[in-house]
């Protein structure tokens, strides 16, 4: 294909990236150094960043984000992996169950939040009090797990399907039981899939918004960074501080990705290593 042809394919995506990602991101970064719009928009430097370092609401929301991150790690990724291991074999029942578990992930989180919100309504719902302060985060994480464990199940099923059958056979021939097959052969082979899942889960946990906004509005004990920053824009008309939180959140997501990328190198996962481990 000629160079012009290649450019023609590239330019639309670049334009979309410029207009919907780069320009707004740059504007957000600029806004984080200015107070709310009004007469006299003067540069305030790092005022909002310094404020974020001492703002207890931001610290609480960040703690909630981390709690949510580890809960979804269990409810989404771990449960997804267990489902994949349980439904690995081909069969009509397994095929049906795969569809059942995957179905919620095609629904909008807002819709899911509204449905569960009705079920948990105080005074009128079938499971009232599930969103009370002491259990709100766990409940929301469980809902998120219900919605997305099927998605991770599909990812892990693909990973399991890619494991060479010879490895499994070799392990069985050497007397490996189900647990050893999983721990010594399948898990190392799923290393790349696990890291992709962790990447999606962790970045998703920081970007979470819909469920919290629909189920737990104005609940500062369950606020996460994204709901706090949206409130700064919407409720308090402070795009300066809201933009600051958005920048900090972006940096945290990038840091998470970098940590996961670095951790990937620490886990050996070659075929030879898996075979040697199965023999031992």
């Amino acid at each position: 294909m000629s160079k012009r042809g290649q450019m023609l394919f590239f330019v639309p995506s670049l334009l979309i990236f410029l207009v919907f990602v780069l320009l707004p991101t740059t504007q957000t970064l600029i806004d984080s150094f200015y107070p709310p719009r009004g007469a006299g928009r003067e540069f305030v430097g790092g005022l909002y960043y310094r404020y974020a370092m001492t703002d207890p609401k931001f610290h609480q929301s960040l703690a909630n984000n981390l709690i949510y991150l580890f809960l979804t790690l269990f409810f989404e990724v771990t449960v997804g992996m267990l489902l994949a291991l349980g439904l690995e074999r081909e069969g009509r029942l397994n095929s049906f169950l795969r569809v059942v578990f995957f179905s919620p992930s095609v629904l909008s989180l807002v819709v899911i939040g509204l449905v569960f919100g009705f079920m948990f309504k105080e005074g009128v719902g079938v499971w009232p009090a599930m969103l009370n302060e002491d259990r709100a985060l766990v409940t929301v994480s469980a809902i998120s797990g219900w919605a997305y464990c099927g998605f991770y199940m599909v990812i892990f099923l693909a990973g399991l399907a890619a494991i060479p059958e010879e490895l499994i056979e070799a392990g069985r021939l050497d007397g490996a039981g189900p647990w050893q097959l999983f721990w010594k052969i399948k898990l190392p082979q799923l290393k790349e899939v696990i890291f992709v899942s962790l990447l999606i889960c962790f970045t998703g946990a920081f970007k979470a918004f819909d469920l919290f906004w629909v189920l737990l509005p104005n609940q500062d004990h369950a606020a996460i960074v994204s709901t706090v920053l949206v409130n700064e824009f919407v409720k308090f008309d402070d795009p300066g501080y809201g933009s600051t939180l958005a920048v900090i959140l972006t940096l945290m997501v990038l840091l998470t990705v970098a940590i996961i990328w670095a951790a990937r190198r620490l886990w050996p996962g070659t075929v030879n290593a898996a075979v040697a481990a199965a023999k031992s």
Binding site: P35, G38, A39, V44, L47, Y48, R50, Y51, T54, D55, P56, F120, K121, E122, G123, V124, P128, A129, L131, N132, E133, A136, P217, N218, Q219, D220, F233, V234, K235, F236, D237, D238, Y241
Partner: protein, 432 residues
């Protein structure tokens, strides 16, 4: 080769540049003396019918002026809509607003016009003086209605069955609540998920114990809140510790923090609670429930009573209309507002439960509960604004959180002042 490139791309680039520089002139609807944009939150069919009729009459009497409605959802408008509408090219000429912080904000930013030069002679005399506010000597908001933020709506059948009378003092009301609880009834159905319902009630309690001036001081930057300033919030603590807000099988202790105001309204209207504290707008919900045959008991109301020795204060907010100084026809914009606030259309709004700001409102408010509300309004000497319209949102939010945390046991009245001061100090680091 270069010429070929230029020839091919010049028309594209030229068109794009032309669009960028002239796109503004392609806007389909632009501000003009003959077209007024009217932004409001009248979403109910019954309200829209009245507004449409007023617009039709105005257009007939003021040709060739046409009025274009911009209808907002109330929740969207009061959070973000009322500000964002001024950031575009198609700003409203006439817009709805709540008196207090939001009006002051609009005036400071040049979004509101002093209507004094355009008002008809004697028009202001038709309105209740307490609803007409002068800012820097000018009239920026013409009041349409007065919302009473806290009224105690009660099940008259339950009160009659237990031999209870409408309490005249706070002490009597506490006694009523205890008797209701002893009779295994939920005394109060309250949903404070969004913080403002009981926050507004807390404001009224403090207004009764402190008065308007001292209360106002608490919401200012730099002032220190003393524990004695918050003694009025002891009623919230009383309700929580004496089970007035919960009942096994209906509402779990602490559930008030997770329930919305709409769900609390449903709990009351379905007869699961004896009382419900909410504003005067609840009359429309009662009328709706009656019309659908869903209300099985007669409803009464009384104002939240003040304690012995306290002030008779009430939380209330005036709503009305403003004119954008960027309008091309300020005279027509003001005349349209005057028509909306005329007796003819205010009487139609009153039939929907609206408390008109007109002096003659009592003569066209026929609904008994509506008449009762007007009497209460007329007799109350001290009016305090709800925090979310009277003060800076950040400071209002702190107070709402204080009330919310007292109701869920996270704070006591004794520790609330320290929490409030901590939050104020935190805001000061942000320059607020």
């Amino acid at each position: 080769m270069v010429n070929a490139h230029l020839k091919r791309w010049f028309p594209v680039v030229g068109f794009a540049a032309a669009l960028v520089f002239t796109g503004d002139h392609l806007a389909l609807s632009r501000s003009s003396p003959e077209r007024l944009r009217f932004a409001h939150t009248f979403t109910a069919d019954s309200e829209r019918t009245i507004v449409n009729a007023a617009i039709a009459e105005f257009e007939q009497e003021h040709p060739p002026v046409k009025i274009e409605q911009v209808v907002f959802n109330s929740e969207t408008y009061q959070t973000i809509g009322w500000r964002l509408q001024f950031h575009g090219r198609q700003q409203p000429d006439v817009f709805f607003h709540w008196r207090g912080f939001k009006v002051n904000y609009a005036v400071e930013r040049g979004w509101a016009m002093d209507m004094t030069p355009y008002l008809s002679p004697g028009f202001l005399d038709q309105l209740l003086p307490s609803t007409v506010q002068r800012i820097k000597g000018g009239i920026y908001l013409l009041p349409q209605s007065v919302d009473i933020s806290n009224l105690v709506w009660y099940n008259q059948d339950v009160f009659a069955r237990l031999g209870l009378a409408e309490p005249a003092t706070l002490e009597q009301w506490r006694e009523v609540c205890l008797r209701l609880r002893a009779a295994k009834l939920l005394p109060l159905a309250q949903g404070n998920r969004d913080l403002w319902p009981m926050g507004n009630f807390g404001e009224e309690l403090l207004g009764q114990s402190l008065g308007a001036a001292r209360l106002d001081r608490l919401f200012q930057s730099g002032t220190v809140v003393e524990p004695t300033d918050l003694r009025g919030l002891g009623t919230l603590e009383f309700f929580r510790t004496n089970g007035c807000l919960d009942l096994p099988g209906v509402l779990e202790p602490g559930g008030i923090g997770a329930m919305s105001d709409i769900d609390a309204k449903v709990v009351f209207l379905t007869g699961k609670s004896a009382q419900h504290i909410v504003g005067s707008w609840f009359l429309a919900d009662i009328a709706d429930a009656r019309a659908k045959n869903e209300l099985r008991f007669p409803v009464g109301l009384f104002p939240a009573p003040s304690g012995v020795g306290e002030l008779d204060a009430m939380t209330s907010v005036t709503t009305g209309f403003l004119v954008n100084p960027a309008t091309k026809n300020p005279r027509a914009a003001t005349a349209f507002i005057e028509l909306l606030l005329s007796r003819k259309y205010q009487s139609q709004f009153a039939a929907l439960g609206n408390l008109s700001a007109r002096k003659d409102a009592a003569s066209f408010t026929s609904e008994p509960l509506g008449q009762r509300m007007l009497e209460i309004l007329a007799k109350t000497p001290v009016i305090v604004p709800p925090p979310d319209t009277g003060y800076l949102p950040e400071h209002a939010n702190i107070f709402y959180e204080v009330c919310g945390k007292i109701l869920t046991g996270k704070l006591t009245v004794a520790s609330a002042a320290e929490y409030w001061n901590d939050q104020k100090r935190n805001l000061a680091r942000k320059g607020l």
